[in-house]
Symmetry: C2
Subunit: 410 residues, 2 copies
Amino acid sequence: MAVANDIYKKMTGPGASVIRKMFEEGAQLKKVYGEDKVFDFSIGNPDLEPVQAVEQAVLEVANDRTKGRHGYMPNAGYTEVRQAMAEKTNFEQNLSGKPGTGLGEALTAKHIVMACGAAGALNSVFKAILNTGDEVLVPVPYFVEYGHYVSNHGGKLRTLTATEDLSIDITAVKKSLNERTAAIIINSPNNPSGKIYTKENMSDLVKVLNEHGKTTGRYPYIILDEPYRAICYNGKNPVSMFPLYSESIVVTSFAKNLSLPGERLGYIAVNPACKDVDVLVNACIFSTRILGYVNAPAMFQKVAAKCWNCDVDYSSYINRMKEITRAVSSAGIEFIEPEGTFYLFCKVPSNKKGDKDDFAFCNHLKKYNILVAPGTGFGCPGYFRIAYCVSEKTIRNSAGAFKKAVEDWI
Amino acid sequence: MAVANDIYKKMTGPGASVIRKMFEEGAQLKKVYGEDKVFDFSIGNPDLEPVQAVEQAVLEVANDRTKGRHGYMPNAGYTEVRQAMAEKTNFEQNLSGKPGTGLGEALTAKHIVMACGAAGALNSVFKAILNTGDEVLVPVPYFVEYGHYVSNHGGKLRTLTATEDLSIDITAVKKSLNERTAAIIINSPNNPSGKIYTKENMSDLVKVLNEHGKTTGRYPYIILDEPYRAICYNGKNPVSMFPLYSESIVVTSFAKNLSLPGERLGYIAVNPACKDVDVLVNACIFSTRILGYVNAPAMFQKVAAKCWNCDVDYSSYINRMKEITRAVSSAGIEFIEPEGTFYLFCKVPSNKKGDKDDFAFCNHLKKYNILVAPGTGFGCPGYFRIAYCVSEKTIRNSAGAFKKAVEDWI
């Protein structure tokens, strides 16, 4: 075998990314049928261009002539950039406490590690915290790549069934906790469901983790994967967890909120109230170095520091959301009402044979030039995900195709 | 323990990067004593600024307004960028053969995977090829991070003693080869010695690997880590290995030749003559995705495609090399004559007690504001490395400090 057995199995087996395959197939289909004839809802690649403030920041940084600006910096990133990300986190997590005040303590630059996107951030965190055989919990539905990120570093992802409304099932958490539980991933708003977990649900989670910690001495980390935090509807926001639970870590990026997914910029923010905060931060820095990220890309670190708090108008995502829910509704497809992100999680309509197979349905949709991701990839067979970060025109034009496809299916 | 045991051990034990620590200490010392009073030879952070053509490319890309330019692209990178890197590799590896011609076949875009620097490239390759317990050989002296890159993915780094002139000891290779040997890393010109391995030495290596392959059925990969390929002196060049051995892979970056280490851009180039070339390339792409790199940073991919073949004048490194060899010679320090890179590998002068301890000597040098890296980190106790990618003035001013330090040591 020319490659590692495990990798070969994963790349050819069901672990292969159907989403990525669709994304690449979509590009091919567009060449054949034309851009406007293909309804590519496969991937979360924001179609909004970066706003003017971002472009301005890119130009300023490109015109900078400071010596060493493309060179190495400390592995954790530029101090001034880390400082900006600390401010951002304090705002989002609602923190203002002075050093040593415990829960509620505000972050400074030293609590931030700049990362190669949220995916890089997650890998650095898992490398930093996982002993071989440790378990990481994640409620379904969840971003399929988590499984790889955890197993890369010797861990095991354990999925948790959700309640009917896709809240976190606290009983399921309780049952799954054991002495090997290193962390639980909370992705709110959630990819693929667009769900924002409620304050009550989150408080119940904290209670259970604290009880477990008191009994076993091991407090699992809550890893808050928050790349969609800024993209929420109707004034809702994900819960600020740092004031509620000390052993918490934010991983996030500028991929979705600033439309910069290809530039690979994100960061890790560690709760200053964390018991071993310095050791944990240093382990994240060390992992970032030895995993070969070395440091987050220099230029876009500076871009982010300049424009992280710029105004971005996400109303077009709301418009798209309305358009897509209209389109699938009129085709008779049921879905979870999204509270944020740019994803719609839908139920596969059952046909005469009672077939609700999501792979079969996604393949069926492909015949109508509709590309969507099967729910199995998110731990939810019988569902499929629509990434509606595409033009409103594409969405409107897809309505007929959805209708026809469902009629031919049921 | 807040973090993984293995990581804690590595980050606090001898595996901690002395070089990085020095680099960060150097920044502190400069604040205290002034930039020109600290002789910081700790890290390979090129002091030459990127040439005009690179700056021009950065500006062009920053001014580009093509839709989706900061978005996701296929995980392997932009096709046109991969095409440019294929051309670069064909030039460097002296390849022009048509598809299917075996050894000597030229690369096309499909043989390239864009990566987050050479460090990212190496991690992707090791993730792609290593089964747990597999071994990777490396001749000393070697870049200390290789050990982490290999063990990250379940492998074990086996170091090979070198001959007196730091050539590859073919007998040592022969002795170390076994059924678990997945690869050998060749870094030419070499960090830290500046050595370029000869054609004869490389041909002998190929012979031994071929013999081993014939006997065991497993042909170890030669992984050519070539970030310093462009920085060679006296018209010398590292051997083009692709025409000599099919199971070979180049990993490299634009960190050193274009002075862009902080931007994290590199690539993997797979020999088209490789037995399972498509599987290997796909495994590298898959690994790049699941390790969280996802793709190499978008903007700098395009920068590299625009200016990879621009003219860069490395003569100042030659001048620096002459200055530094003069400085250490007159202090009575012996060294390996560098044929490329910007490193000088020196012997620790033995003192009255016969003490040749490199850690002790490097700590001693620190008292004279000289920062260098101990040879133990490169697998060579009794040596130390000078990274002379600093201003000629710094080098000239260090001469007195070196002299005084050695006088006080011996």
